[in-house]
C-alpha cells in the first residue's frame, strides 16, 4: 500500500536519508528501530509530508503523493503521532480529540474509551487544557489518543513509549495489538522497546540514513536476546562504532 522509492533527504547539506527503498503492506505492523540519529523519525516525517525529499518518490495506494502536502496526506488517511507533541493553550483534551475525529466523518467517538486505551482516566482529563499543566507523559498519551481517534489506513507512531510509565505501557502495547487485530490499518511504530518489537510482523533496522535490515520479528528478536546476554553492555562503544559488531542497542 505504500512504496518509498529511492528516497533521499538532505537538510542543510547533511544527508539524513540515503536512497531508501521500502514497501509496506496493508494491515501489517512494522517496527522501525535503530540507533539515535539513524533517520527513523525523518523517514516517518517524510512519509507524513513534514519533510520534502531531495530525491525519490512516495507512492500510496498506487498514487504518487510525493508532492502532496501534510493536509492532503492526512485526508488520504495517513496519520502521525509526534514524538514531542505540542501543547495548545485553551483547548481541552475533549476538544482536541473531537478535532482529531472531525475530518473522519465520525459522529460519536468514544472519547472515554480512547483515553482508557492510552491509560488515562477520562473523568480526570476530559476538561483539562492541553497546556503546560500536563506532564510530558500525559501529553504523550493524549497525542496517541488523537491518532487512535482517526480511522487511518496508515498510522505512524514516533517513539510512543517515551515518557510513559511501565504500567501504562503494558496497556499501550495491548492497544496497538487490538488495533492491529480489529482494523485494516497499517501500523508503523518507531521504537526501541522489546515489548513493542514483539508486536511486529516485520522489523526495519535503520542505520546512518539507510535501511540496514528488513526482517521478521523472530529473526530480529533472536539477535536481541544475544545482545541481552552480552556482559559488556555498560559503557560499550563498539556496537555503535564498528559495523562488523552486530549489536542492536
Amino acid at each position: 500500500m505504500l512504496q518509498v522509492q529511492n528516497l533521499t533527504l538532505e537538510i542543510e547539506g547533511n544527508r539524513i536519508l540515503d536512497d531508501i527503498d521500502l514497501n509496506l503492506d496493508r494491515k501489517k505492523l512494522y517496527v522501525i528501530t535503530g540507533p539515535n540519529g539513524s533517520g527513523k523519525s525523518s523517514l516517518a516525517k517524510a512519509i507524513m509530508g513534514m519533510y520534502k525529499p531531495t530525491a525519490g518518490s512516495i507512492i500510496f495506494e498506487d498514487q504518487d503523493i510525493t508532492d502532496f502536502n501534510i493536509t492532503e496526506r492526512a485526508n488520504l488517511k495517513i496519520g502521525y503521532a509526534f514524538q514531542q507533541p505540542p501543547r495548545f493553550k485553551g483547548i481541552t483534551v475533549e476538544e482536541l480529540l473531537e478535532l482529531s475525529a472531525k475530518n473522519e466523518g465520525q459522529k460519536d467517538i468514544e472519547i472515554c474509551d480512547l483515553l482508557l486505551d492510552v491509560g488515562l482516566c477520562a473523568q480526570d482529563y476530559l476538561h483539562r487544557q492541553v497546556d503546560g499543566s500536563l506532564s510530558g507523559g500525559e501529553l504523550k498519551r493524549i497525542e496517541l489518543a488523537t491518532v487512535l481517534a482517526r480511522r487511518l489506513k496508515l498510522a505512524i507512531f514516533d517513539e510512543p513509549e517515551a515518557g510513559i510509565d511501565l504500567w501504562s505501557f503494558q496497556k499501550l502495547a495491548e492497544t496497538f495489538d487490538m488495533i492491529h487485530e480489529k482494523y485494516d490499518t497499517t501500523i508503523v511504530i518507531i521504537s526501541h522497546q522489546e515489548r513493542i518489537l514483539k508486536l511486529a510482523d516485520e522489523v526495519i533496522v535503520m542505520r546512518e540514513g539507510t535501511i540496514a535490515e528488513h526482517t521478521t520479528q523472530d529473526k530480529f528478536l533472536s539477535k536481541i536476546a544475544r545482545d541481552a546476554d552480552c556482559r559488556c553492555r555498560q559503557g560499550c562503544e563498539k556496537g555503535a562504532l564498528y559495523d562488523e559488531v552486530e549489536c542492536y542497542r
Binding site: F82, F88, I91, N103
Partner: protein, 307 residues
C-alpha cells in the same frame, strides 16, 4: 420593545441574547433607553443628573441576572453613560453588559461606559463585558470603558472582559479595591486586527488582609494592530496576587505587556508572568496531520487561545 435585525445581531454578539432577556434589563440604543425592566429584587432607576442608570440589587438576592447591553447603530454617535451598581450584602448575581457598534457611515461612533460597582459584604458577582464592532462604513468604532469596583469583606468578583472583533480603538481602564478576604478574578480576551489599537489598564489594590486577585489576560494581535497592557497589583496587606499576560503576535503587529507588582507589606505574595510569541509551528503541523489546512489550523489555535 421592537428590535430590528441589527439590534438582534449585536445583542447576540455582546450578550448572547436572541430576544428580550429574562430578569432585570436595560437596553440602550443610540443614546436612548429602548427597554427597561426591574424585578422584585433588582431595581433599575435612571440617573437624574447625567445619562445612565443606578442598579440596586437587594441584599441576599440569589441566582438573578441583569442585562444592560448598549447598541450604537448610527454613524457619528458619541455616547457617554454612567452606570452604578449597588450590590447588596450576601447576594449572588450575574451581570451582562457589553456594547456593540454598527457603524454604517464614515463618521466615528464612540461609546464611553463608566461603571461603578459597590459590592457588599460576602456578595458574589460575575460581570461579563463584551465589545464588538461591525458595519460597512469607514467611520471609526471606538469603545472606552472605565470600571471602578470596590469589594467589601468576603466579596467575590469575577470579571470577564472580551473584545474580539471590529473595535478600532479602545482604552479600557479598570480600577479595583479589595477589602478583607475579598477575591477578584479577571479574565481578559482581546483580538485586534488591521490598524486597530487597544490599551488595557488594570490597577488592583489589595487593601484588606487575605484579599486575593488573579488576572489572566490573553490577546492576539494581527496585521498592523497595536496593543498595550498595563496590569498592576499593589499589595498593602497580607494578600496574594497573580498576573498572567499572554499574547500571540502575528504579521506586523506591536504588543507591549507591562505587568507591575508592588508590595507594601512583607506578607504580600505577588507574581507576574508575561509572554509574547507567535503561534508555534509545531501546533500548525499537528493540526495539519489531522487533516486541517494551515488557515483552519491557525483559526482553531486562536479560537482556543481566546476562549
Amino acid at each position: 420593545m421592537k428590535l430590528n435585525v441589527i439590534d438582534r445581531q449585536i445583542l447576540d454578539k455582546v450578550a448572547d441574547l436572541h430576544s428580550v432577556p429574562q430578569g432585570a434589563y436595560n437596553i440602550r440604543r443610540d443614546g436612548e433607553a429602548l427597554g427597561r425592566h426591574s424585578t422584585a429584587n433588582i431595581d433599575i432607576v435612571p440617573k437624574k443628573d447625567k445619562p445612565g442608570i443606578d442598579i440596586f440589587i437587594k441584599p441576599y438576592t440569589k441566582g438573578e441576572s441583569v442585562h444592560i447591553p448598549v447598541i450604537l447603530s448610527k454613524a457619528g454617535m458619541e455616547d457617554t453613560v454612567y452606570n452604578t451598581f449597588h450590590i447588596g450584602e450576601g447576594s449572588d448575581v450575574y451581570i451582562v453588559a457589553g456594547c456593540g457598534i454598527h457603524n454604517p457611515g464614515n463618521r466615528r461612533s464612540q461609546h464611553d461606559g463608566i461603571h461603578d460597582f459597590y459590592v457588599g459584604k460576602g456578595a458574589k458577582v460575575k460581570y461579563v463585558e463584551r465589545h464588538y464592532g461591525q458595519g460597512e462604513g469607514t467611520g471609526e468604532r471606538i469603545l472606552n470603558p472605565t470600571t471602578y469596583i470596590e469589594v467589601e469583606e468576603g466579596g467575590v468578583v469575577e470579571l470577564e472582559m472580551v473584545q474580539i472583533r471590529g473595535v478600532d480603538d479602545t482604552k479600557r481602564n479598570t480600577k479595583v479595591k479589595l477589602h478583607k478576604d475579598a477575591k477578584l478574578i479577571v479574565t481578559e480576551r482581546l483580538l485586534t486586527d488591521r490598524e486597530q489599537e487597544a490599551h488595557s489598564i488594570i490597577d488592583v489594590e489589595l487593601i484588606g488582609e487575605d484579599s486575593s486577585a488573579q488576572i489572566i489576560s490573553r490577546s492576539v494581535a494581527k496585521d498592523n494592530s497595536k496593543q498595550v497592557f498595563n496590569l498592576n497589583l499593589i499589595g498593602l496587606n497580607r494578600c496574594r496576587g497573580h498576573i498572567q499576560c499572554d499574547s500571540i503576535i502575528m504579521d506586523n503587529a506591536h504588543v507591549s505587556s507591562i505587568p507591575e507588582i508592588t508590595a507594601r507589606h512583607s506578607d504580600a505574595q505577588l507574581v507576574h508572568e508575561a509572554a509574547i510569541g507567535k503561534i508555534a509551528s509545531e501546533q500548525i503541523l499537528k493540526l495539519e496531520t489531522l487533516g486541517f489546512t494551515e488557515e483552519q489550523a491557525e483559526e482553531i489555535i486562536l479560537e482556543g487561545f481566546l476562549k
